[in-house]
């Protein structure tokens, strides 16, 4: 039987297996190869919460989803076309994601009594017809791997671990991918252990050859290169881009960089990356807790450093008092919240956008701070630069709201040239003659006068300060005045950020307004609706406090505005109170991102008056804007 060649535009593969099966690794290798072939792509790992869950259990399943395409794409894909299930637990937990009629590649060797029981299968799904709606390909992947690496002197256990590369080889054959990049990677990675290098390379090739020989595949697929804007690209995760943004911001401001942080999922990777960049003069400090982390950051900012702190929602809760001190002392610090599902510990490895109001209001007293939010993994770089620019120019703590989906997700990123980055040079105040620590410049910012500067000895702190002189003050009028100045300073940033842009028609029927990581899913849904001839537009807020000046104006140009959010309507609440617009709020809080399909169904439901709501989404208001 000869296999046919089919050309596809779009493929979503989900690799799922036990934590020890190396699924993240092969997912990463497939991603790299797809990038080198020129596909547009987006990826999302799905880690188990447990570090080393017992092998074979459902809570030890680790998955990696990859969407690659010859088109411009915006999400890791709603439902996979192909599910790789290395054991029964991976099958039972991931089958729900698969497209009807999709392909399942199963490692038959693990479908024994013990593994089936661990996964909770009463009977072997390979025997009955429960999988009849799918194209099931079951192969003895472990047996094949062991045979492939026979004679290399590996123990049975070591040999068995090569099965991820064996499986990857098979997928490379299916999608007609070159093996060279991975072979090179293996050679480099296992430099020190020649036998492992050889075994993994052999496994990869054997898997590829398996495709040729087993005759269970009807077709091989081609996914051609995408037409991305010309430039040099690399694949980047949101957390990586955030760390690079921090390096770039220190270089562009000319300041010493300092990160004070405490390990927390899903933010820790930023510390891991940044701690390697010491030759940029960057100091990373793993503090004893979240409070010490921001305390050290503000201490560093007081001394003239460009200071960052990174955390997730629970960490922000602990840092709130110190952020208030940053507001009061008017010192710049960038506070990165890589949001996760809450409240409390919530679901640490799952994504959510539920800390928006915490960023806006989660402090005692009137303590406004600017809030920015990246919309894609690569955008983390640019919004981090913006956060640093705003913090140092306006002397204020700035919130950077990323989330687990952006932080761990990856996309091709067009590498900027350093000369294209904004110049953010910072000058410290140095003139002792007319020095007033709480005087204001044209942006309402107070001078950054750092210790060690002759003649500028002065005191700052959490007590209310006299306007201008900076002495401690309990004067009622002064407190009101200072409160209003701090608010005005933040509000004034609206004059210094880009206007809100509309994608699609500039005005009309329906606008989907989003913020943060929902950008990709909204874009796909809007594109699909537009392709069906509906008048639907998209606007996405990267600046949340203040919002772009034209926000109200943009919203009022549409008959109806809907806001999908991974919370219970926090932006919708802000828009309603700020702009007196009764927007439609679409809310999903499952620790999962929106799928484009869900949003498409929602939009279509409203526009065709069917008002269908997918089960996963709650509609919190349907009152129309007149």
């Amino acid at each position: 039987m000869s296999t046919q060649r089919e050309v596809l535009n779009d493929v979503v593969i989900r690799f799922a297996g036990d934590s020890g099966d190396g699924m993240q690794l092969v997912g990463g290798q497939f991603t790299l190869t797809a990038a080198l072939v020129g596909n547009d792509l987006a990826t999302l790992p799905d880690f188990p919460a447990e570090i080393r869950a017992p092998a074979g259990t459902t809570y030890g399943v680790s998955a990696f989803q990859l969407h690659f395409s010859s088109n411009d794409i915006h999400t890791p894909g709603d439902a996979p076309d192909v599910l790789v299930a290395m054991n029964p637990a991976a099958l039972i937990t991931n089958l729900i994601h698969l497209k009807p009629g999709g392909t399942i590649i199963i490692n038959e060797d693990t479908f024994d009594k013990k593994h089936l029981e661990l996964a909770g299968y009463a009977s072997n799904p390979l025997d009955g017809d429960s999988l009849s709606g799918y194209n099931v390909i079951h192969l003895r992947l472990t047996t094949g791997t062991l045979k492939a690496v026979e004679g290399l002197g590996l123990s049975n256990k070591e040999a068995g671990r090569c099965k991820n590369f064996y499986t990857l080889g098979l997928l490379y054959w299916m999608y007609n991918r070159p093996m060279e990049p991975t072979l090179e990677w293996i050679a480099e990675k296992f430099k020190a252990r020649q036998e492992f290098a050889e075994a993994n390379a052999k496994a990869l090739k054997a898997g590829y050859n398996l495709g040729e020989t087993v005759e269970v595949f009807n077709a091989r697929y081609e996914v051609g290169p995408a037409k991305l804007p010309p430039g040099k690209y690399r694949n980047i995760t949101g957390n990586q881009a955030t760390a690079l943004g921090m390096v770039a911001a220190t270089q562009r401001t000319g300041l010493k960089g300092f990160l004070g942080t405490y390990p927390i999922t899903p933010a820790s990777d930023i510390l891991h990356y940044l701690s390697r960049y010491k030759n940029f003069g960057l100091l990373t400090f793993q503090a004893e807790d979240e409070i010490a982390a921001i305390g050290a950051a503000i201490g560093a900012a007081y001394g003239g450093a460009l200071a960052f702190t990174t955390t997730a929602g629970p960490g922000i809760a602990l840092k709130s008092e110190a952020i208030g001190l940053g507001v009061m002392t008017e010192l710049p610090v960038v506070v990165c919240n890589i949001q996760r599902a809450g409240p409390s510990t919530g679901m640490p490895t799952k994504t959510e956008q539920s800390d928006l109001l915490q960023a806006f209001y989660g402090r005692n007293g009137e303590a406004p701070v600017p809030v920015v939010a990246p919309q894609t993994p690569g955008d983390c770089f640019w919004m981090l630069l913006e956060a640093a620019r705003i913090a140092t120019k306006y002397m204020v703590p700035v919130f950077f709201l990323s989330d687990g989906y952006l932080g761990n997700g990856a996309e091709p990123w067009m590498i900027p040239s350093v000369s294209d980055l904004p110049d953010m040079k910072v000058e410290f105040y140095t003139d002792p003659k007319h020095f007033h620590p709480y005087s204001r410049n044209e942006h309402e910012a107070r001078p950054w006068a750092i210790p060690g500067t002759p003649g500028l000895e002065h005191r700052v702190g959490g007590l209310e300060k006299q306007h201008g002189s900076g002495g401690v003050s309990y004067d009622p009028e002064n407190h009101e005045k200072m409160t209003r100045i701090r608010a005005r300073k933040v509000a004034g940033i609206a004059n210094d950020i880009p206007e809100l842009e509309v994608y699609g028609d500039e005005e009309g029927e329906f606008l989907v307004l989003g913020w943060g990581s929902t950008y990709g899913a909204i874009r796909v849904a809007v594109d699909r609706m537009r392709a069906k001839g509906f008048n639907v537009s998209q606007a996405h807020l990267r600046y949340l406090n203040p919002m772009p000046k034209n926000t109200g104006h943009v919203l009022r140009r549409f008959k109806q505005v809907a806001i999908p959010e991974l919370n219970t309507g926090q932006l919708a609440k802000l828009i309603r109170s700020e702009h007196l617009l009764d927007v439609v709020s679409w809310s999903k809080v499952q620790g999962l991102p929106f799928t484009a399909g869900e949003l498409e169904e929602l939009i279509e439901g409203i526009l065709t008056n069917k008002n269908t709501t997918p089960e996963s989404v709650r509609e919190l208001s349907t009152t129309k804007v007149e």
Binding site: G231, Y233, A292, A296, R459, V460, V472
Partner: protein, 346 residues
């Protein structure tokens, strides 16, 4: 790099002569009249002019409490921060600005209750700074509740039937945290304070100084046995490195070892050669000294209890940066952005 040097601003004359007045800010001092804090402030202001260092290099950081008003009264750079966290701000400042002289003003509540965790970590990291812990064994600013250093059975507004928790021993705590410098002094002894502050300044690392401080409003006389003329000599042991431990009005008493226990002895019965000799570098002795004052019949030691030369976190952190620059070259952003697997779309 010191940003000031970078801006070419270090152009004032090399040496400045200061007096205590130069370190006094124009803020009105708001402590209760008679409070021990006044003396501590005065002794720090008298000590700094003796040190050959430019005034703008001194930065005082505090938390919350009576003691934490301290920075407002010093004409230096100052950061009055939030409750218990002064040590965290000091850490971030010193690590990024090793050129500064960083001081922390804190109290028994601020530094050992809400801020106990951070105190532990600044001590073990050995951040090069000076920590003045005003210990008045009471909460003053919140108007008289017991503190973590109050003695058991303390009757206060919040403990009308007496407190029931065992107090923390600041010196023992600091030693347990791995502090490289631990000293104790007392508000009523001006000269002793000045000696300790100057000595602590020159110690490289986190210098922890417990200062017995009288709160004459809510806990008056707590340290009376150590400050009142007629009794203090019999209750205080002034430690000096290399000198035998002798105390008493007539210098007629000493401390000797009996097995592993310290005991008081009359010099009439025991030759001086049999007395314990203070050795600041001995951790064993330091631990014994830390519990001396809670043993009946033994005096309270003041002075430098322990001193150890150890690398500081701030030095090591900056050395790592320099070593990375040596090894990989000064960071090149263009190169960093263009790292890893790349591809070109034309």
């Amino acid at each position: 790099m010191n940003p000031i040097e970078k801006n070419g601003l270090n152009v004032l004359p090399e040496k400045q002569e200061y007096t205590a007045k130069d370190f006094s800010s124009d803020a009105d001092v708001r402590w209760c009249p008679g409070c021990g804090d006044y003396s501590i402030l005065a002794q720090v202001q008298r000590t700094l002019p003796r040190i050959d260092r430019r005034k703008e290099d001194y930065t005082f950081i505090s938390g919350i409490g009576c003691s934490s008003r301290f920075p407002y009264y010093m004409d230096c750079f100052g950061l009055h921060s939030i409750h218990g966290r002064a040590t965290t701000f000091a850490t971030g400042l010193k690590v990024t600005r090793p050129d500064l002289s960083v001081w922390v003003a804190t109290g028994d509540g601020d530094g050992l209750s809400i801020g106990g965790n951070h105190m532990m970590h600044i001590l073990r990291r050995n951040i090069n700074c000076n920590i003045l812990l005003f210990n008045n064994q009471i909460y003053g600013l919140t108007k008289g509740q017991y503190s973590p250093t109050s003695e058991v059975g303390k009757k206060t507004k919040s403990t009308p039937f007496g407190s029931i928790d065992t107090p923390v021993n600041p010196v023992r705590f600091a030693l347990g945290c791995g502090a490289s410098y631990v000293a104790r002094t007392i508000d009523r002894d001006a000269k002793h304070q000045q000696r300790i502050y100057e000595d602590a300044y020159y110690h490289k690392g986190a210098s922890f100084i417990e200062i017995y401080q009288n709160c004459n409003i809510f806990n008056d006389g707590t340290f009376g046995h150590l400050t009142e003329r007629d009794v203090k000599a019999d209750n205080l042991l002034v430690l000096e490195h290399g000198k035998p431990m002798i105390f008493g009005k007539e210098s007629d008493k000493g401390i000797r070892l009996n097995g592993l226990k310290m005991e008081g002895a009359s010099l009439a019965d025991v030759p001086e050669a049999d007395l314990l000799v203070h050795d600041e570098s001995s951790p064993e002795l330091a631990h014994a000294l830390s519990i001396m004052h809670v043993q009946p019949g033994l005096p309270t030691p003041i002075g430098v209890i322990y001193r150890e030369e150890r690398e500081t976190y701030d030095d090591l952190a900056n050395e790592q940066v320099e070593a990375a620059k040596q090894k990989f070259g000064e960071g090149d952003l263009e190169k960093l952005l263009n790292e890893g697997e790349m591809w070109v779309v034309s």
